[in-house]
Amino acid sequence: MAKIIGGITTSHIPAVGNAIANNLQDDPYWKPFFDGYPKIHDWLAEKKPDVVINIYNDHGLGFFLDQMPTFAIGAAHEYKNEDEGWGIPQLDPFPGAPELSWHIIEGMVEDEFDITSCQELPVDHGFVVPMQLFWPGAPHNKDMPRAIPVSANTVIHPIPTLNRALNFGKSMRKAVESWPEDLTVVVLGTGGLSHQLDGERAGFINHDFDRMCMEKIVDTPEELTKISRMELVEKAGAQGTEFLMWMMMRGALGKKVKLLTENYHIPISNTGAGTMLLECMDD
């Protein structure tokens, strides 16, 4: 049986991809951010998950406004990060796990989550930067798991509610755990935390709200579902709605989790950057 062993959150800011490409990990601006990752590297080296489900939000590469899925799951043999228009380094393709993708899609649609399936899906920095952070040298890290991308819409309102995001994760967990093969799976929730790129409020960051979200997501994620989508925009910034990805991940981890490490740093680019490693403790 496939088993979800833990979840990891991180911001997926494009500038991080450039910092990695230029080896700036020890630069004074970047060090407090990159210091959040060695413990996660150790955990991944010990656990060596077979599959990574990478929950991110597409930023105008894989999808345009002509057809915008609220929830999309990749079902491809491989995933390429293609040109996004402003040049983050392009990497070799990430190997997929299409059989498990289809099993998850079948299970979730049976469970009445209506998924958009994608046999091709160009992946952007939202997917790639976290892979580079967790598996240095990705995709050519010897422990690189096979990948399943999951993208939720935060480009255009209406976006999903926080409650729907949490329930998405719960449904995904059921689907994964009904896969007969013995596999271990790690789930990434990427994006956030607070930031706003557009409008007169550009540069908005909310330390206290971010810290509250990081605290509650561990043991009481249900409390966060009381936050309305407009309240999320107001408190986390227009692009802070990416916190939905964290909620989707949290739903997939089961009831009880253990926080193994966390880091929070302001600012990276325009963003409050949060990193957490949660290990699954059910059964």
Partner: protein, 123 residues
């Protein structure tokens, strides 16, 4: 019927909620910017911006905002920041440059504003 009659969204200062109403207004502009994922399209825009804007059916106010590199103007005309970022990339503007322009600061002032958000942990 005007869609404003059933606005779903609360007002948030300095923030445009990009919803169906804005998407209807901005479709051509956003579609043009989506095309900038391709290098040949970026080159074509740089070679002849007016022809390129006509190709995507931009409205006159949208063209005016693009010509002036006016980000707030483009947002007001339905531009979505994720797509506009690709246009900003052609102009070699960073997200801090874009933030500075929208808030009426220099880029250095805007970067300082971001640094000022940092609080010591435990506070």
């Amino acid at each position: 019927m005007d869609i404003n009659d059933f606005d779903h969204h609360t007002h948030i200062e300095g923030t445009t909620i990009f919803d169906g109403r804005m998407a209807m207004k901005g479709y051509g502009l956003n579609k043009m910017c989506y095309a900038f994922n391709r290098a040949d399209m970026r080159d074509a825009f740089v070679a002849d911006p007016e022809e390129f804007m006509d190709r995507y059916g931009l409205t006159e106010p949208q063209k005016k905002a693009v010509r002036a590199k006016d980000v707030l103007g483009m947002i007001a005309e339905g531009g979505n920041i994720y797509y506009l970022a690709k246009l900003a990339g052609i102009w070699k503007l960073s997200v801090q440059d874009v933030g500075a322009q929208q808030t009426g600061m220099t880029t250095e002032e805007f970067k300082q504003k971001l640094l000022d958000h940092a609080k010591p942990e435990g506070k």
